[in-house]
């Protein structure tokens, strides 16, 4: 029998039992859509968490903090495969006070080899990188944090008021309003043993704004040549670490593993990602399992429909076999019918799921916002995501289940005894 004739045959029977087939498709659709939407929550949340981590530039970095690291090894790090740059970062392990006229601010201080730092940090918001030892670049919010007493009072009041309204106040209104680049600030470093260094530094550049809106960056970045100014301050030397910048995220893992094997203390956020991925794999599998139960329930409908179809066509099947239809053909015709139910149900389910998914992602933040009063719209939460993998898995499950539940009735059709079938009343 030609494929077209087989399809015609199947179509004819479906049209003849429109209502029954429709209801069965409806059940299959609901089951499959339930499966997809449920699992999409797992995919969505995973993506949200992943985005959160990936938006942090730290994903392409390896932090290496180890006293056992030799100078030679440190120098050879940059020759490892896929390493873009190795930056030695030395922390100023004590409070750093900046003063400009009547204004002052407290920040963290860090020392970098400026050539390497410039390479990984890229463009500044303003100004240039330090060339001389007494030049510094400062964080984006540094000027804003340089406050006099009046500023401090106004700031405290505004923060308090904002807290009452459950809002956040970052201090945009206060601080040094002129151009900080070009200014000379007096920096004071003091340790617990009351050792003190006071020295003027010239601000030559401002870093880009931090990637998160809620972050305040008022750090002070020194050239590593400036370390000498603080010589003699305990602890000596200052703690330092190496930050290895890789060219891409995929290349982080291999080097991380290699350095670990060498017995070095290394860390990368990528490692968290592995754990998160494992967690979500289990989570998604659980959701898929629950969703599959819905598909299985729908499959009972398909089984019933197909059994009924075979039973009421017993005589016709008998005639077909008598005039020479092979059992294989008869089985195929019925399998095609259950496959049709499964495929149409799945296709509709996929479309519906996408609509639900988009709607949920659009509407849920608004609903949550109204319910809790918290502003989460800015955080770009994804509640439901349907990647193609999910579509493939869900389609395979529901079409597979449809075929399996149609298989027994189809087998039954092939087993029909010609003589018995022909005896049935017309």
């Amino acid at each position: 029998m030609l494929l077209k004739d087989q399809l015609d045959f199947v179509k004819q029977h479906i049209v003849k039992n429109k209502m029954r087939v429709f209801m069965t498709i409806l059940a299959a659709t609901i089951g499959c859509a339930f499966l997809i939407v449920l699992a999409s929550v797992g995919f969505g949340l995973q993506q949200t968490v992943k985005n959160e981590i990936l938006s942090d530039e730290a994903v392409t970095r390896i932090q290496l903090y180890d006293d056992s690291l030799t100078k030679e090894r440190a120098a050879s790090l940059k020759d490892e495969d896929n390493v873009k740059a190795v930056v030695q970062k030395t922390h100023l392990p004590m409070a750093l006070k900046s003063e400009l006229d009547d204004r002052e601010a407290h920040s963290e201080g860090k020392f970098y080899d400026m050539t390497a730092f410039q390479k990984v940090n890229g463009k500044l918001a303003q100004g240039s990188y330090p060339k001389a030892a007494d030049e510094i670049v400062v964080g984006y919010h540094y000027a804003q944090r340089l406050m006099n007493e009046a500023d401090q009072e106004a700031y405290n009041e505004k923060v308090e008021a904002a807290n009452k309204k459950q809002e956040n106040y970052m201090g945009e209104d206060e601080g040094f309003k002129g151009n900080i680049v070009g200014q000379t600030v007096t920096l004071t470093v003091e340790n617990d043993e009351e050792q003190q260094v006071v020295k003027p530094f010239k601000v030559v550049g401002i870093l880009q704004a931090p990637s998160y809106e809620w972050m305040i960056d008022n750090q002070v970045i020194f050239s590593d040549k400036a370390i000498n100014f603080f010589a003699g301050l305990q602890p000596d030397p200052f703690p330092s670490e190496y930050i290895i910048h890789m060219d891409s995220m995929e290349n982080v893992k291999p080097l991380l593993t290699k350095l670990k094997k060498e017995g070095l203390g290394v860390y990368s956020v990528i490692e968290q990602m592995d754990q998160i991925n494992v967690f979500f794999a289990v989570f998604k599998a659980g959701l898929l399992f629950v969703g599959t139960i819905a598909v299985l329930i729908a499959s009972i409908g398909i089984f019933n429909t197909m059994t009924m179809a075979v039973t009421e066509r017993t005589r016709e099947i008998g005639v077909l076999k008598a005039i020479g239809a092979s059992p294989k053909l008869i089985q195929r015709l019925f399998l095609m019918e259950s496959a049709f139910i499964g495929i149409v149900g799945t296709v509709i389910a996929v479309i519906i799921s996408y609509v639900i998914s988009v709607t949920v992602n659009f509407a849920l933040p608004i609903v949550l916002e109204m319910a809790t009063g918290e502003d989460i719209g800015e955080r770009e939460m994804i509640f439901s995501a349907i990647p193609w993998q999910l579509v493939v898995i869900a389609s395979a499950i529901s079409i597979g289940v449809a075929m399996i539940s149609g298989w027994r009735p189809a087998r039954k059709a092939t087993k029909i005894d010609v003589i018995q079938a022909l005896r049935q009343e017309v």
Partner: protein
């Protein structure tokens, strides 16, 4: 054309554990030559239909062999039997066995579909045949819109459409009045002459029996030539 040798079959009837054997066919042997019209007669329950079902491969006899057109069909499996039937046999039943959802033309077309013949060729063959057996007018009618005689013509059409060498008919005129029966017999005679088709007709109607070239009588599980 048809060689049947030593076909024997026993049915077990009754409740499980207390079955009773009925020896319906006891070592039946006969030969039917090409282009013959043979009637198989006998009392009701004598085993005529059973014999035909064995010949067609609808069931397996306990012992014996059936050779059709020189091909041994006894050992064929279900699928092979089906394929064999599709090209070698046409069937006509007492209660027509038409597909209620298909028109007269579509019913006749069905075996050609099973053979995988393309639609255009099917159409012309069906039209030609329907013309030939006087059904052109009712091509678009469904079985329940046809008279008994017309339905039987359609079923003969369906048996003929694949040009099989043999047509097996079980009481083809059993549900028709005598006038219609004559029409059908006339059609059978025509087709036998025109296409040289071999007919094996089961009947207990004397009219039909005397119309055949040869009669074989079923009695007590045996088949005997009747004068």
């Amino acid at each position: 054309m048809i060689e049947v040798q030593n076909i024997a079959h026993t049915f077990l009837i009754g409740k499980k554990g207390a079955e009773q054997p009925i020896h319906v066919l006891k070592a039946i042997s006969f030969t039917i030559k090409p282009k013959e019209i043979v009637a198989i007669v006998g009392k009701s329950g004598s085993g005529k239909s059973t014999l035909l079902q064995v010949m067609a491969g609808f069931m397996k006899a306990d012992t014996g062999s059936v050779k059709i057109n020189g091909k041994e069909t006894t050992g064929l499996n279900e699928a092979e039997h089906a394929a064999f039937r599709l090209t070698n046999f046409g069937f006509v039943f007492q209660n027509f066995q038409l597909m209620p959802g298909l028109t007269a033309a579509e019913n006749i077309e069905l075996p050609l579909k099973l053979q995988g013949i393309p639609a255009s060729e099917r159409k012309s063959r069906v039209e030609a045949l329907m013309q030939r057996i006087g059904l052109a007018e009712v091509a678009a009618h469904y079985p329940n819109e046809l008279s008994g005689g017309q339905q039987q013509r359609v079923s003969i059409g369906r048996a003929l459409i694949t040009n099989p060498p043999i047509i097996l008919a079980d009481e083809p005129t059993g549900s028709l009045d005598s006038e219609t029966e004559q029409e059908i017999l006339q059609l059978i005679a025509d087709l036998n002459k025109a296409f040289g088709i071999t007919f094996v007709i089961i009947t207990h109607d004397d009219e039909v029996a005397s119309f055949a070239h040869r009669r074989l009588k079923m009695h007590d599980g045996q088949l005997k030539e009747e004068a």
